[in-house]
């Protein structure tokens, strides 16, 4: 069965310091992986996606993620946090098998950015 585990429910960083949000997935096949962000009272916004091309994926707002098949990980990073990055982040997998397009979400990680 496919699953996604976000290893931290809450991450707190200081503005200007690096961000690391951890995600591990379980999939029988090569999945597609996404990171979404949700700011308060907003919809889910796509940050980046991995679809079996380059393993290092660059997204919007300076975020990037690296697909590591050997570690079944897809951690999200940003070199320098900004106050506007405070939000909830979701690691999401789309299993390769089947064609429904159904997404499987991780539990979410709330990022707090301190001044």
């Amino acid at each position: 069965a496919q699953s996604v585990t976000q290893l931290d429910s809450h991450v707190s960083v200081s503005e200007g310091t690096p961000v690391l949000l951890r995600c591990n997935y379980s999939s029988s096949y090569s999945p597609s992986l996404f990171w979404y962000v949700q700011h308060p009272n907003k919809g889910l916004q796509l940050l980046l996606k991995y679809t079996s091309a380059a393993t290092l994926v660059k997204g919007i707002n300076g975020f990037e993620a690296e697909f590591k098949k050997s570690e079944t990980s897809f951690h999200l990073t940003k070199p320098s946090a900004h106050m506007s990055d405070a939000a909830e982040y979701f690691c999401v997998v789309r299993p390769a098998s089947g064609n429904t397009g159904k997404l499987i979400f991780g539990q979410g990680t709330t990022l707090q950015v301190k001044p």
Partner: protein, 113 residues
């Protein structure tokens, strides 16, 4: 382009009442999805439409939930009768093709009291 629109944004109803949630996808997107996040849990898939047809409804919790997409445009999700455990945020998403990603709406926060 306009995004995915959901309304109402909030709904508070009493147990046993009926509520209908609506989702307007991005024009031209054949694929429409409903997801739900119950408090403290992860976001979970409910169902998937391709145009007006239900492609996958494996996530629908029970027969109190009825989704429709007449004409392959907007979709409605009706809960009848609502129960306390139905409270949560209901998200709608649409896509032209999954490889382009999915565009989500802001969600409808449903509270059943």
């Amino acid at each position: 382009e306009a995004g995915v629109t959901q309304f109402p944004s909030h709904s508070v109803i009493e147990k046993g009442q009926t509520v209908t949630l609506r989702c307007d996808p991005i024009s031209g997107h054949d694929n429409l999805y409903w997801y739900r996040r119950v408090m403290g849990k992860e976001i979970k898939f409910l169902l998937h439409f391709v145009k007006e047809s239900k492609q996958d409804e494996s996530g629908m919790p029970n027969n109190r939930f009825l989704a429709e997409r007449t004409g392959g445009t907007y979709s409605t999700l009706k809960v009848q009768p609502a129960e306390l455990e139905d409270s949560g945020v209901y998200f709608c998403a649409s896509s032209q093709d999954w490889s382009y990603g999915y565009t989500f709406g802001s969600g409808t926060r449903l509270t059943v009291v």
